[in-house]
Symmetry: C2
Subunit: 356 residues, 2 copies
């Protein structure tokens, strides 16, 4: 089965369930496993596109929910699409908007045709369903679009998870029907929480559809780390071997290690950038909370093993001062470092797979 025009995916090495791959897109080749920094509103918060690219990222994620509300998908399309609008030199993926409608929007009401909600920006009523999500994502013009799905919390009652699965399957078919662009890949999403039988049955339904790639949704939404890792290991094996596998919204460095070992190719997560804005850095020596008093007079770099601009320029003492003084440079430098750390982590994982 061929992928969308301009796309190609090839597994180039394996180690157990883990895979090294090359995902060709109209905006560059992405070596997998790869981490996608999150550019919520068309900007990876505080960083320039060139900086994000230098952390090793070759694909970023944009949030359909945020972008459709502001500045609006029509404007982005008029400006030449999200790549050009945001001056991002690599590949892009947009989520479907479903997850954020359900987690962020006010007074949302879900039915079999989609979700009605109020914009968190101005309170105006908005309707989002499979057809509209595809229409919006085609206007945004990322390389990869995601099918519109319903993602319940992992702690939701079984009946709710089953209903979400049914809807997600129905919407998957409607998304494929609604598709107009041949030059944009569309990924299906497998739900089912941590219930193996549900995962297996939903994977069977979704993977039977002609998607260009497959994602695991409904992870890292409340379950334990053990359940996450075991669930991903089980679910990844259910996905077609010859298509990219994307684990949505995950995760910590430990999660990425575990999930790549289980055969996941793509990740996205706000953790490195959101935690940076809250003063937390991922380092070779573990997590560093820069606001802690112990760093007040610390002359060392944030991470002695790191070569990023932050670590080669500033001391922990100065970064702590910037954080305490609410200087934007703190969020910026910690974001840069954290994405660099994630970039290096993925590079080292790929290096290990290449060597095997």
């Amino acid at each position: 089965m061929r992928m969308a025009k301009g796309f190609h995916f090839e597994v180039t090495a394996r180690r157990g369930s883990a895979r090294l791959g090359l995902l060709t897109t109209p905006h560059g080749v992405v070596e997998t496993p790869a981490f996608m920094p999150v550019g919520t509103a068309g900007s990876v918060k505080s960083l320039s596109p060139a900086e994000v690219f230098r952390t090793g990222a070759r694909i970023v994620l944009g949030n359909t929910y945020h972008l459709m509300l502001r500045p609006g998908a029509e404007l982005v399309a008029e400006m030449g699409g999200l790549h050009r609008f945001a001056a991002w030199p690599g590949a892009m993926l947009t989520d479907s908007g479903g997850y954020q409608v359900l987690s962020l929007a006010e007074r949302r009401k879900i039915d079999d045709d989609g979700v009605t909600f109020r914009s968190h920006i101005d309170g105006s009523p908005v309707r989002l369903g499979p057809e509209e999500s595809i229409r919006v994502q085609e206007l945004l013009g990322a390389d990869i679009a995601m099918a519109f799905d319903e993602c319940p919390p992992s702690t939701a009652p079984l009946a709710q998870i089953e209903q979400a699965m049914r809807r997600t399957t129905a919407w998957a078919g409607r998304c494929l029907e609604a598709r107009r662009r041949g030059d944009q890949a569309l990924f299906g999403i497998v739900q089912g929480g941590t219930h193996r039988e549900l995962r297996a049955s939903h994977a069977e339904q979704i993977c039977a559809l002609p998607f260009d790639g497959f994602a695991l949704g409904g992870f890292a939404v409340g379950e334990s780390t053990e359940d996450l890792h075991a669930g991903v290991r089980f679910a990844a094996a259910l996905l077609p071997d010859d298509r990219p596998r994307y684990l949505m919204g995950v995760g910590t460095p430990e999660d990425l290690e575990s999930a790549t070992a289980s055969g996941i190719d793509l990740f996205d997560c706000v953790l490195p950038t959101r935690n940076a804005r809250n003063g937390q850095a991922f380092t070779s020596e573990g997590r560093v909370n820069i606001k802690q008093a112990r760093y007040t007079a610390d002359r060392g770099p944030l991470d002695p093993a790191c070569s990023c601009e932050c670590c080669s320029t500033f001391t922990r003492a100065y970064l702590r001062h910037l954080y305490q003084a609410r200087e934007m440079l703190a969020a910026r430098m910690l974001s840069l470092h954290n994405l660099h750390f994630y970039g290096e982590l993925m590079r080292s994982i790929r290096e290990r797979l290449r060597g095997s």
Copy 2:
């Protein structure tokens, strides 16, 4: 009369009252006229030191008031001084703290020995006077320290301006007395508002003292642009010809044009960076308020005549979107552009003087 150790000032060309000069400091040579970006709390807001340097800035200003309260001058000294702490590769100047104590601190009480106030951070009582200001500035370790002065609004009653002058003169002598470091320049400050006879008399008092340079305070504190320009023209001529002349807290591009023509060598102002954070850019086509709806679909750069990273990467439409979405990259890119604009303005002023 010699300047402090490691300092030298030379006027290399003249055009009318305007001067082209070289100010040698222990941290590099500054071509004058020069604009100093303001790094309030040891960071030019949102920008990295390397970015600030690339705008053409070779000297930045740090605020003693902010730095003494957080992180504290002792810590900065322990970390090797403000240059090293903030990783700034050029020269630095610190203000005396006087101006900001009077404009920012709560429950301030001024007397002939200094000012007692409450920290705007934690409400704790603080005392700042000439001796303490010099002690703090020597700990911060900028290349140039400023004498502790009282700067009343230009609209203040004559008696208040005269009292401020008397105090500023007395404090000037005490600052020189309190000085311990021989490798830090100390500039005196001439007050007097827009009253010519007061300016003349205060300049006579202050310029008789062995300062390394002289500043004009009490401008851009409420008077009209005409009064500012005329007042600076009058006052600049009262300052010694062989010492750097610094116009404090000024100003707009038009103010810098006018004041350099009057013979001013150094400037500082929060305008380019503060206005950037409020969405205003200085461009070759005049002021641009990026939040305006007219830029919603504007494919052009912020300033078509500019070569900075902002103007060579992003459209006005995207910058407007970033501003509306409160993305940090908006403040950052507009700050970068505005400082680049100021850097280019000063470069072109120097070029004109060099050519004459």
